[in-house]
């Protein structure tokens, strides 16, 4: 037998770097119920038998290496952003890609739509879920996860079960953060109770809405879901320009290109619509959904398909007005009357004199407005208040010094050493010891006592 057949190497191949975390497959990519990045993080933590907070802190945070990055304690109030369009979501996606070897995790966030979706009012601050989905996945032994759709502010209902999404736990009645230290798919992160339930338990929570309203809510969920489902199939990134183009095409058909007319029909400021048409600005997702609902065109059709002839805005108003807070009417202030009022306050020997804040409250006019109109009088009122405060302060200090003097004498007479602590107990305002002149009073009182020739007791 030859030597090379006789021997066998035992050294292992050297380049065997394995991924630190399991490679977990995201659920539902390319469907309405695409998994969210937060949900994948939580499932990954569960697979490793760790609380998500621990996983974020020990594994993810060092990779992101930024103060706002993975440390859950610092980002609790912003955890929704981990599913969103910005850098936090992209950072987490790339960190998890590095750790688990899984690819394309940005598809689990709204990052591919960052050009089209302004982040304002985009994502819910609290976790929302469909209990029927949870229960179904549990009974059919499917993966329990959270779709990205549920985290959107504009989506109120589950497209598959036609019920409202829940936001508070039926057991502890608390709300959940989108990502908490103890998050777990399907369970309340506060009390760890199972959140799934059958449709019968829900008492058909959509019943509170009229038929039109509930139809609209489900239409919105469906339409936004379809948009998310199309994410992986985007051939080129959708830009502001393509959005503006789609907008102009629709306006051409609805009002012959008359932006003002279109804006009037939508009850929107025409400038705003004009900015959208020029690609300078973008509507928030809820406004976009509203417009699409009125145009009877799903979000994805609005973007990708050329509108057909004879479309018009449907006059449905179930979604309510777009601008819920109409601009306040300018308020007319009777300056003569105001001046008189101020004069009365200034000359009145009220004790203590009121500060400007209090005056503004009494007159029900904003402090800055009064100041703009009558700066001199305002300054005078403030000066009067300041002066009074100074005098009061001085008086309090004198009072404290007197109290200290008495306290020191009292302590000596009882044979006790007048320490600061002991003196403080006998004062009506011990906090005043923070002032130098007050504390000096102790020293002075002791000195006076000594010069009178009495012996100090042992401390």
């Amino acid at each position: 037998m030859k030597t090379n057949q006789l021997y066998h190497d035992l050294e292992l191949p050297s380049h065997l770097c394995r991924s630190r975390l399991f490679c977990i497959e995201p659920v539902g990519i390319g469907t309405q119920l695409t998994e969210s990045l937060i949900s994948l993080t939580v499932r990954l933590a569960e697979a490793h038998c760790l609380p998500p907070g621990m996983l974020m802190e020990k594994e993810v945070a060092p990779i992101i290496a930024r103060t706002h990055g993975g440390n859950l304690h610092k980002i609790y109030s912003h955890t929704a952003a981990l599913n969103s369009t910005g850098v936090m979501a992209l950072n987490l996606a790339s960190a998890l890609e590095k750790l688990s070897g899984q690819k394309n995790l940005h598809l689990l966030t709204l990052a591919p739509w960052s050009e089209l979706m302004p982040s304002r009012k985009l994502l819910r601050r609290d976790r929302a879920w469909c209990p029927v989905c949870y229960e179904n996945w549990y009974t059919t032994k499917n993966v329990i996860y959270e779709p990205l759709l549920w985290s959107l502010e504009v989506v109120k209902a589950c497209p598959s079960h036609r019920c409202l999404l829940l936001e508070s736990c039926p057991y502890c009645h608390q709300k959940n953060l989108p990502l908490a230290w103890n998050s777990r798919p399907g369970y309340c992160s506060k009390c760890q109770e199972w959140l799934g339930s059958l449709p019968s338990n829900l008492a058909e929570n959509l019943k509170n809405f009229s038929e039109d309203e509930s139809k609209a809510l489900i239409w919105i969920a469906d339409s936004v879901g379809d948009l998310l489902a199309s994410t992986p199939y985007l051939t080129s990134p959708v830009t502001k320009d393509s959005f503006a183009q789609a907008f102009r095409a629709h306006i051409n058909l609805v009002s012959n290109g008359n932006i003002a007319e279109f804006a009037r029909q939508l009850q929107l400021p025409k400038n705003t619509v004009w900015l959208w048409c020029n690609g300078r600005n973008l509507p928030q997702l809820d406004t976009w959904v509203h417009i699409c609902y009125r145009l009877n065109s799903s979000l994805i059709d609005f973007l990708t398909q050329r509108p057909e002839q004879d479309i018009c805005l449907t006059p449905v108003k179930v979604l309510g007005p777009l601008h819920s807070k109409p601009r306040a009417e300018p308020r007319v202030i009777d300056t003569d009357h105001l001046e008189q009022q101020l004069e009365i306050i200034l000359l009145n020997h009220e004790c203590p004199p009121p500060p400007m804040e209090e005056v503004a409250r009494r007159l029900e006019i904003h402090r800055e407005t009064i100041f703009r109109l009558f700066p001199e009088m305002c300054r005078a009122i403030s000066a009067k208040y300041d002066q009074f405060q100074k005098i009061r302060h001085h008086r309090e200090i004198e009072q404290s010094r007197k109290e200290i003097n008495q306290a020191v004498l009292k302590l000596y007479s009882e044979g006790l050493y007048p320490s600061e602590g002991q003196v403080a107990q006998l004062m009506s305002k011990p906090g005043y010891l923070r002032y130098k002149q007050v504390r000096a009073a102790i020293k002075e009182a002791k000195l006076e006592f000594n010069t009178q020739g009495r012996n100090l007791p042992n401390s």
Binding site: M1, T3, Q5, L6, Y7, H8, D9, L10, E11, L12, P13, L16, C17, R18, S19, R20, L21, F22, C23, I24, E46, A47, H48, C49, L50, P51, M54, L55, K58, E59, S100, G101, N182, R184, Y187, K190, C191, Q192
Partner: protein
Amino acid sequence: MASEHDFSIELLDLSIDQRLEFFKNPGKTIMHRNLKKTFEHLYRIVRNPAGASLILVIGPSGVGKSTLLALLQRKILETSLARMEVDLSWYPIICIEAPAVNRGFRWRPFYKEILLAVDEPCIENKITYDEDCLRRNKDGKLIVATRATEDSLRLAARKVCLHRKPYTLAIDEFEHIGISATNEDIEAHMHCAKSFINESKVPWTAFGTYEMLDFLEINDQLSQRDRIIHFPRYLVEADEDVAEFKRILEQLLRRMPLRQTPRLTSKLFELCYIGSIGKIGTLINWLTNAYDLCLSEEAKTLSFTHLEETIKPEFELAKMLDEAERGEAKLIKSKEKRRAFRARLGFEQGAEGSLAQFNNSTNLKSSDLSEMSEIQPEQENKLKKQTKPFKRSPKRDPVGDKQV
């Protein structure tokens, strides 16, 4: 013989330590016949377990089981490189050693070994969301136990197997499971192992001494889906074994960096066989010691006395031999055992004597049964072929002390 020695001549000018190191840790292993055969068999089964969930590699201590494990690990990694590059989270094989602590075998460190082998994050913080680990304090605040309990480590280890999907979990020194354990303990251990395998869906390859056979006797739960691979020592009764042993011994002697290669005489062979009872691992360790002695004396070559001085004491050798023979008696297939077994199943009559003998010599256990039933059809064919017409059937002859 191609050349007198099997090392580069420059080695002779190096220090004693370096020469010893060359012999001790060559970074490769001698592929002797039994190792090669067992390795090929094992590799085939690991890659295609065909329903087997526990592969037991059984052989006497010092026969080369750990080397076999190293070979297996290397081969599996080598053949998996392409897939490993694509699938970054895949571990083709997880190798651990069953830990032994002073009070015997414990599962907690065992699970930890698995987690350490795959570089699992935050091992000390593992939790299960079971009710046991979730409790509330007096204010009603939820407390999740973050201590790594045995349950949480077990769950984590199971999930490692589920997600990393290795071909097998290879466990060296598996006989540690029986350290200072009662029969009930061992039974419980085997149940634990079985449920772990069932839940994680990853077969185990356990390397151990003949002691492992005792576990199977105690609990036949695992025998349903186990596969035994015997890694035997070389026996002096078989000519081909002797030839192979001589070849290995000669190779080892030629590999010693010495001025003069020791001559392999029949006397030397005999001593070497006695001192190692036919186990190559033991032989190599002993030769290393003898070579060390030889180097320290600055002798020209390895002499008989060097070996005599470093040989293990007789009582130790005898104990080794006892253990090896006891195991072999159970595992080595023989005609008598097979015939007795056939009789037990009612295929042959009048073999009660041999059956009794068989039962006495070895405690029959189901692992043997499965092994035997596997080869039975083949054996039956052989027997059929050997029977010629008009030839007297030997089974009518008196057997044992009973007359037919």
